[in-house]
Symmetry: C2
Subunit: 198 residues, 2 copies
Amino acid sequence: MARKTGSDGQKTARDIRSAALRLFAEKGYAAVSMREIARDVGVQAGALYLYTPDKQSLLADLMISHLQDLMAAWKTELARVEADPVARLDCFVRFHIRYHLQRIDEVFIAYMELRNLVPENFTRVETLRRSYERELENILAAGQSLGQFKSTDTRITPLAIIAMLNGVMTWFRDGGRLSRSDIETLYLGHVRRLVGLA
Amino acid sequence: MARKTGSDGQKTARDIRSAALRLFAEKGYAAVSMREIARDVGVQAGALYLYTPDKQSLLADLMISHLQDLMAAWKTELARVEADPVARLDCFVRFHIRYHLQRIDEVFIAYMELRNLVPENFTRVETLRRSYERELENILAAGQSLGQFKSTDTRITPLAIIAMLNGVMTWFRDGGRLSRSDIETLYLGHVRRLVGLA
DNA sequence: CTACCATTTGAACGATCGTTCAATTACGGT
DNA sequence: ACCGTAATTGAACGATCGTTCAAATGGTAG
């Protein structure tokens, strides 16, 4: 028994990625076997290797894709906003929350599975994260130089803000007391005050 | 060959805990074998079972102990502070950063290894975390009712603050540009502004 | 219809895992 | 010195892991 009726390589590829993403986020990379991913997709473990060279590449690819997509999406969003640092900060906060709340599993692995990357992949992921963080740094630096934001450490304050925003992804669930829009607004308030805006 | 000269059960117990803590934090629970922990300590894997019923108990114990110690330490600290919410908030922020910067591995596993707990242990850990979070909630609620802090969501704002504080543990290293005391002061500034102070 | 490529299976390899337990040795108290 | 308990070893069990690959089957184009 081999190839099955109706098999579709492109669909299988997508299914593998999405199963891996979900299972890695839920149980952790090391705790999820290739057999478990395969079972979830409905194939045998050996089939996965037609789509990924190995387990590590599967994880790295998921993480790197996420960060690249994030950056591309941010750039698109940024292009729609006026150059004013206050408007950009608002935009960043809302974007970050909205984008990540739609990709909770990606956020999880992007932050929690760094330990499972081999050095080369770790470096690539770190570099991508760093460039995203630098976007917020630039906004804060511009706002501070215009006297709009309080003068703070422009390397540390962005880290603080992003950590705070990312915290949402650990507890938020649709159907709770607060809507996604509520969260955006609440956290925008936190951030605005934190940087010294009303 | 069996018991070795100079063996000391109490020392071995301590060594096992500290090796497990370090390795779990560094590589993740699922990625670390009992053999690796044993090797680190200088015994065989079978020896670990004199000290812990199983691997899961080792993890759960590390996490639960940490949270219990944290709460005890916080209560001790709190007893030294006047009842003023502003003073208490300051105290909480400095305490949280100082305490956790001395226990980076514990923080790591307390947040990153929840997924690897069996339901019963998960519940116990969640309960302990929740009671710590409630301490900050109480401070904020008191400060808001006295008009000292801006009126915000007293469930969400503490989560935001703790997430932000915990972010420090992912990047701080001694010997960098900022000292621990610098970090405390910087983050206290963030938090004070965030709650509408200063 | 045929040939070729795509897709999948299932068996197997070498490796490691969590855990158990009988045997061995060390230590301390009487 | 002797005995009982503590501490450790090392072998082994049953299980699972990541990965490879030859064989088998499906689908499509000419």
